[in-house]
Structures are given as C-alpha cells and as structure tokens.
C-alpha cells in the first residue's frame, strides 16, 4: 500500500463527495469544451462560407490614371495607359511562400465584341477556377469549352439568345451552352468563354486583363499574401478586398472573446466548487489526518494524498468532460448553423487540453485545502491524545 492507494481508497469510500467533486469539475470542463469546440466548428463553418464568397485578392494592371467609373457608371473613355499582366507571371504565384493558401487563381481576359450589332463585353475565364471564385453562379446548361459561351441573364435577354443558339463574333462562330441565372452583378451583362478563346478573339495571347485570387486566409494575414504576389507580378496592382478580410477576422475575434469570457467564468466557478468540496473533505477528515501524522506521515505526505485525490478526480472529469463537451456541441450545432455537412470531429489537442486544464484546475483549487490539511496540528486533530 502507498499514498496513491490511500487516495484511491478514500475516493472509493467517500463516493458521494467524490461524485460531487467530479460533477463540479465535469460541468466546468464540459461547458468549456462545448464552447470551444462549438466556436471552433462555427469558425470553420464561417470561414468556409466566407471563402465561398469568392475572390478576396484582385490583380489589375498598374496605371497612373484614376478610375473613371463609379457604381457601374462609366464617366470616361477607355484611354488608360496601363501595364500588361502576362500569364507567365501569374503562373509564378504557385511559388510564393503562402502558395498553399491560394484556393483558386482566375485570370480574366476582357474585351468588347459585337454581336447582332450590339456591343458586348466578352470575358475569357478559367472555368475550373470559376467554380471557387464564383460559387454563387447557377448555370442553366453546361460550362463552355472551345468555341462555346455562357451568357449573363441580361445579355441573353438583350441578345435574344438561348442555350443551343449559335452566333458570330469577331469572325468566329460561337455556341451558347448555358445561361447564368441573374446574380444582380455586372456578370449579368457579360458573355463568358474559355480564356484561350477570348485571348484569340481579342488578340491577347499570353496576356490577361486582370486576375482574381481566392485566398484561404483563416491562418494567414492577407496583407502578407498581397505583398508576396506583388513581388511576383510587378506589372500588376495587387489589392486585398479588405471588407471581406476584416469581416472574417472580426467575426472570429468576437467568437473567441465570447468563448474566453464564458470559459473564464466557468473555470472560476469550477475552481470554487473544487475548493469548497476539498475544504469540506479536509475538515471531515481532520481526525484521520491526525492519525496519519501521529504514525509518522510527513506534512508533504498529507499534501500528496489530498492532491492525488484531486488529480484522480480531475483527470476523470477532464476525460468525461471532453466527451460530454463534444456530445453537447454535436447536439447544439443544429441550433447554431444550417449547414448540413458540418460535423464535430475528434481534436486531440482539445482533448489533451481539457484533461490537462481539468487536472491543473483541480490541483490549483486543492492546493490551499492540501496545505491546510498538512498544517493541522496532529495533537489537536486527534484530541484523544
């Protein structure tokens, strides 16, 4: 038999007290784990959703002129003296330090073409990247390939074209494979074709008008990515769409602050529960501690017994609290998000953190009762002697 056995046997004997202590810690750990995992899951969900909002970095040609458009209204000609962006420059984006954060890169070749005597803006795009950059597009029909196009809703109406129709522009016969449902944006007025087709029609081989980048910036500063891309594309002006980025960061920060605040309160309450329970336990065992001291236990032995008991219960509370917290999150998640595909998954860091936090909490809150127990005068404690 050793000190650990005494701690175990005492807990087994005083089941109600141990259960109360366990419950106090368990509620605390469960709440903290539930909050943290809920916020983390929500954060992933929000980040995922925000990322679906499309591009958050734009690369446009450098120019010394100021823009003459506002709110979609153009007040000047297209007399820009601007530098050109080359596809070869864009390819190097895959070599920047934060390349792993680049979810999609969409080069765009823009130019005006005449269809049925109407001038229309033609946009050449990489439709693979478009899936990430414009996830809100709903296309009636198929994505275009080769000499095929899809039309914005207003453009289709204005040109009187439908899926399957063929028309001629810049001397090429193009077939409509799809129409984009109205988006409420400028896209409604454009026609879209694969990048190579547009470059050929507009005489822009190897060059693009602009590029859109969707950066997954949950863990990276967007300003840093802007800087890295600027170095790679010197002829381009690289801009982070600050409103999107800041919105993401602020949302996350609010959630984190809330979690920290509530966790601190819960931890404080949990500590008080442990403190009060352990104080009661020590008082209840005054005579027993006196016996231990009388038969040769040092003060450090008494401290170790009390702390061992706290550590055993705390470790169990940490483990059960993690399981309870994850369960609570899974049960509560449907009330916080409408995403059907979002799931709570095992997080070893959170699990380990919950157990360590619980043990630290239990030990910290039990330190004073343990010292109090060790300071008990064995003679006073025994009274009989």
């Amino acid at each position: 038999m050793n000190l650990k056995d005494i701690a175990f046997l005492n807990l087994r004997r005083r089941k109600a007290k141990a259960a109360f202590l366990l419950a106090g810690l368990l509620i605390g750990v469960t709440t903290v784990v539930a909050l943290m995992s809920l916020v983390e899951t929500m954060r992933e969900d929000i980040t995922d959703k925000l990322d679906k909002f499309g591009a958050n970095i734009l690369i446009v040609p450098k120019t010394e002129n100021l823009s003459l458009t506002y709110g979609g209204l153009s007040l000047g000609g297209v007399s820009f003296e601007m530098e050109e962006i080359y596809e070869s420059q864009l390819e190097k984006i895959s070599t920047i330090r934060n390349a792993a954060n680049v979810a999609a890169l969409g080069p765009v070749a823009l130019g005006v073409v005449e269809i049925n005597e109407k001038k229309v803006l033609l946009s050449g795009m990489d439709f693979e990247a478009t899936r990430t950059l414009k996830p809100w597009w709903k296309i009636q029909g198929d994505m275009p390939e080769g000499d095929q196009v899809i039309l914005g809703a207003e453009a289709a109406l204005s040109l009187g074209l439908d899926v399957g129709d063929t028309f001629t522009a810049s001397g090429r016969d193009l077939t409509v494979t799809g129409i984009i449902e109205a988006t409420g944006s400028q896209d409604d007025q454009l026609i879209f074709t694969p990048l190579a087709t547009a470059q050929s029609m507009l005489g822009m081989e190897g060059r693009v008008s602009m590029a859109e980048v969707a950066a997954l910036c949950k863990d990276c500063p967007i300003e840093e990515m802007v800087r890295q891309i600027s170095e790679i594309v010197p002829s381009g002006k690289v801009m982070g769409i600050q409103s999107v980025v800041k919105g993401r960061m602020e949302t996350l920060a609010h959630f984190q602050r809330l979690t920290l605040g509530v966790s601190a309160v819960v931890i404080l309450v949990g500590s008080l529960v442990v403190l009060v329970t352990m104080m009661g336990s020590v008082r209840e065992r005054t005579r027993e501690i006196g016996i231990f001291r009388a038969i040769g236990f040092r003060r450090s032995h008494i401290i170790r017994i009390v702390l061992l008991e706290a550590a055993i219960v705390s470790a169990l509370a940490g483990l059960l609290g993690y399981i309870g917290g994850i369960g609570t999150t899974a049960a509560a998640l449907p009330f916080f998000t409408e995403s059907a595909d979002i799931a709570v998954h095992f997080d070893p860091v959170l699990a380990g953190g919950a157990i360590i936090m619980s043990i630290l909490l239990g030990l910290t809150a039990s330190t004073y009762p343990a010292l109090l127990a060790a300071k008990l005068d064995p003679n006073e404690a025994l009274r009989a002697l």
Partner: protein, 246 residues
C-alpha cells in the same frame, strides 16, 4: 544514561486569564524495556504528558530525550520520522480508518517506507496474527468488536517493530475481560523487549506495568515500582512537583 528522559516538562495552553497549566514541570527517566503506567484523574495532565512523549505536542518548557535525541530540537519532518521509527501509538478510541481493511489499517505506518507491497502486506498480516486476528485481515473496522478494534490498533502500533509503544487509555472503552486480554497482550510485547508507556486511570490496568507514575494537577506526585506481586512505593520523587504543590 536512561533511554527516555523528561526534564522539567511544562505545558501551558492559552494566555492571560485563559491560561491553563496542564503540565507544571515533570521530570522522570525510563529505561529501555520498561513498562510504565501513567495514572491520574481526568484533567490531571497525563494525556498532555503522553502527547509530549509522542513528539506531538511541543512543551512550553523543558526537554524530552529518547535515545539521547533531543526530540523538540528536531524539525517537524524529523519528528514525523521519529514517530514512525521509534513510536507505536495505541489510542483510546482505536482511531482506525473506517474505509481501510484491518490489514490496510495495520499497514499505514509502512506506507511511507520503501518496501515492496508484498513485504508490507506480510508484515501487516504477521502483526495481526500476533494480536490474534490473523483470520480477519480483509474485514473493515465496522465489522469487528471494540476489543478486536483495540487489538488492531495494537497491531498497527507494532507492525514496524518500534522500540516504544505509547498507549492512551487502551482499556477505556473495553469490558473487563477484553481489558484483561489486551493487558496480557501488552505484557507479552513488553516481555519481548518493547518499552511501553501507558496512560490509564484504571488501577487494575496500571498494575500490569512495572512502574506507575501518578500525576495530579499537572505535577508528578508519586511513583510506585511494582516487582512481581510485591510493590515498592516512593512518594515525592519529583522535587519540582513536590515543591510547587507545597
């Protein structure tokens, strides 16, 4: 040089008007292997004296030496070690831990020593065997009688073979037959060489010892030496006590 030596032990509790002079200057010597009874009425100071001998209660004045060790010059931890190495305690109210089996209770003084669990268990079983409870090792204190509990307390006190056994009213809660059995047990332990100091107010129990120290109002007032059936009585051995009471 005596094995145990008390030099003018004084113990006061409280201060001012609330001052209680529990022990007022007691000196005595006990040889190795003696069986000494300390007798006195309730409140006479005998339990305070025993607690000072048990390294549990620091005297207000005076010295207490065991085997030439000045006990109250030791640190708290050293005193705990002293209690573990030198002393076995038998308490009046048994003081067994209710959630531990008899074997586990007896093993308690061995908990803090380095030994294999098997060895500790064997020592506990042997001690229980010596007090006649070898077949009850796995029982809880609540499952045995008061007399048996007192014997478990004795087993716990002797499990690590301490040279000194301190007993505080060991028969206080026992009937006369069980008391007789317990006294026989203590006598046997003394015959094996253990020094025993027993506080009691029972004349009958005290007669089991070889020497009786009588305490009254905090003073050592009388000493009686019992040799076999005969007894020699010396009164007023402690000059300090006699002087103060005069």
């Amino acid at each position: 040089m005596s094995y145990i030596k008390a030099e003018n032990l004084v113990k006061h509790y409280g201060t001012g008007d609330g001052l209680v002079e529990a022990v007022r200057g007691i000196s005595f010597e006990i040889e190795e292997g003696e069986f000494v009874a300390v007798m006195g009425e309730s409140g006479s100071g005998k339990s305070t004296l025993l607690s000072m001998m048990g390294a549990l209660n620091t005297p207000t004045e005076g010295n207490f030496l065991v085997d030439d060790i000045e006990i109250y010059n030791l640190s708290r931890d050293q005193r705990a070690d002293f209690r573990r190495e030198f002393l076995g305690f038998v308490f009046q109210s048994f003081n067994l831990i209710p959630y531990l089996t008899l074997a586990e209770n007896v093993m308690l003084p061995l908990v803090t020593i380095k030994a294999r669990s098997k060895t500790k268990k064997a020592m506990a079983e042997e001690a229980l065997d010596r007090v006649g409870l070898g077949d009850m090792v796995d029982r809880l204190p609540s499952q045995i009688s008061g007399g048996e509990q007192e014997r478990v307390a004795v087993a716990r006190a002797i499990v690590n073979n301490p040279p000194i056994l301190l007993a505080d009213e060991p028969t206080g809660n026992l009937d006369s037959k069980t008391s007789g059995d317990l006294m026989g047990l203590l006598k046997n332990l003394n015959a094996e060489g253990m020094t025993i100091i027993m506080v009691t107010h029972s004349e009958e129990s005290a007669r089991t010892a070889r020497r009786i120290l009588k305490i009254e109002d905090g003073y050592l007032t009388d000493e009686e030496r019992l040799i076999g059936e005969a007894a020699s009585v010396r009164s007023g051995k402690n000059p300090v006590a006699v002087d103060k009471s005069a």
